[in-house]
Subunit: 164 residues, 6 copies
């Protein structure tokens, strides 16, 4: 089966939790499109270009992964790319209902693409981009939360965001 | 990618919810092994042979599905079959934590097999084998809950189980 | 509107939480049928007759309440009584999913009867028949958990149940 | 019993899920006051007048329903209208705790009005006004989510809200 | 054991629920530092100084309690004060996952301080500062929600916040 | 403050998760009574004596811990020992409501003892005695789940329990 799978997210910034999900998806499906969704109402800390750049850096070693961005509905993007799977990481309970709602909605909007959930690893169970920002912007150590190769980029950005 | 995926369960009996998950898994992975787990401490209503027979009947039209049974650990079965994915349906919240525990445990016991969750369809969200039994054994109509082709088999079994 | 409402349960034994729900239902609907469901697989501590008797005692002052018992499906009972509402108390989260499953199932089996949930009062939020039994059988004080007028009946029963 | 029941909400816009709850409430209580709460801090997409208008359109065929709006506390509104029941739809878990908090708070503020929950139908389980907006504003098809007779009104509004 | 425990929060304003947790913590640990966290992104209704003042008023009778404020990471504050315990009240489910995330994160950032949860009392189970504000600002009675000695202060503040 | 804290449980058998909670409690309170509750209706795999013995082995290096067993109500045991704290580990959501119910009930039965929750560490988040038994009895590797010094004892017991 020659399945294209989509890994959508804000990736603002990409965490070790995201990377773990991408890696595992890449062992299961032929082609992985990691897509930075730029349509969300959340104000992002990193620009779409910066987020794509960081994703390219951290997935450089994984052969079947491509990085893109999209500004419309995920269901439309999946249709356009002829993707059969939408891969999402499920952390704890708080993700569960929102992800269910999105999965059922996306199925109505595009029946050809099915959402597939992978469980976060135990050590990433409570890790999120917003936690990274909350800790990093107050000077806490985020080495355990983000891929090493983008640590400096992230901290530089945070340094600019802090209000004195 | 030539992935073998395992769909484990008690299937006591198989419901329309199970069948929906099996069908969707069969569109995503090369080879699907539906496996009746016979090691659970729950007392089953149907024998392992009866459950396998019903599964064969309802999956007859799906080309890449095979039915088996297993009495030991799921992680060992997956290793033996060289399976890379374990497919589970997630219904509502009540499944969530148990399935997470099992997914993380199976990962420790067999890191090569990753658990993949599909969401139950809205109409099967609260459907379970035990609901089928609870309703059917008291004379309620279970046509909405089980595949038509095994309806008679199930009702015959229930007729024998009822205590007068 | 001349609505008959059913308040189903095991009532093994009736608690202050049950009584609160029955009282509030009685202010909302014309006729309340409190029905002891005797079909559940749970082994009861009190006989159906004892449970009905206790319910009669504690609801003696509420005009529009009748006590019955039923051995089949709730949906059939509601149809037979021409009930338009099934009233259930929702305590905490643990009730939530099971009650949802039952409500959706009962709706399929009898579309004419709609399930209506009332929230448990804060002081009864974690009160259940099994808690009453667990505490009472080990000699704990259950005055806060059950109506005063049946306290002696319950404690007599518990005295007999204890294994020395 | 001549019960007046209140169905409060933002209805921004009214969905098929809201309409289902209103219809079912109308079969249970003598008089239904659907009330657009205008006090919430959420910025609305539709004006209070527009929301009332849409509610009138979609409930035109239900005899015992009236549409109003209110800017203060729900508990005060219920007292003023001598309402004995506050009807709310419970969808999934995410509603549960917030609705419980509001129900217990409203009971303290107005003990005469009791909150009554109806379960969302399976097909509306994950439907919300914000989902309608999220999908509709990005050009997705919302025919499954809103009553047909207000579809055009909603899409016209969304067309104006989109930023190019 | 001469344990210093930290009770962190926004306390905007302090409720009867907060006070209950502080009182109980004070019976368990030698020294309690109640700390107003001023780093959160939430816009506060009361200034840090006002919040500290109210906390001092309501804890006046508890010997081993001190009131402070802090603008950085809680983990750093705990380290600085050589605190071994971080005390948090757990109300309902909605607190649970967020508090778990914070507890595991704080443990990584400062392994010497362990988070300790106390359960809210039944009557405070759904009480929060934002509920107090929501009710109080619309003219509802908040006597059941806040310590009597700061009731007037709070209502004065609310009077100023209301937009006419 | 010279606080005696109780760590109650079935410990059937003790896991690395239990040991982590006991160790952390021992750094917070003067005296820790780990108590094997023998009153539960669950059929145990290990006898009370075996469970106490294993607990003594694994806590040998912690100075302020004593091992006891108790057959009645926990609230009575805490009163008898003049304990001011009952320490429980909270793993995931599934523990949450049951533990809340027990905490509120114990508070009513013995207001002097307050329940204190510690969060399970990330790696023990889904670890339980029943998981240990489920995996171990089917020949899976439980080295990651139980203290090394009792591994042989546990496996010997399991060898005897297996039905061929």
């Amino acid at each position: 089966m020659n399945i294209t799978a989509v890994c959508p997210g804000s990736f603002d910034p990409v965490t070790l939790g995201h990377l773990d999900i991408i890696r595992r998806a890449a062992q299961m499906f032929e082609r992985i499109l990691v897509v930075v969704m730029s349509n969300t109402q959340k104000t992002a800390t990193f620009s779409v270009a910066e987020r794509c750049e960081m994703l390219k850096t951290v997935t450089a070693g994984i052969g079947n992964v491509e990085i893109e961005s999209h500004g419309g509905l995920l269901a439309d993007y999946a249709r356009e790319k002829n993707a059969k799977a939408i891969v999402k990481g499920l952390r704890a309970l708080s993700d569960f209902e929102y992800e269910f709602q999105m999965a059922l909605t996306n199925k109505r909007l595009n029946p050809a693409a099915d959402t597939v959930f992978l469980t976060a690893s135990a050590e990433n169970m409570y890790l999120s981009s917003s936690l990274v920002k909350q800790v990093g912007m107050m000077g806490g150590d985020i080495h355990d939360f983000v891929p090493e190769c983008i640590y400096d980029n992230i901290m530089k950005k945070f340094a600019k965001s802090i209000n004195y």
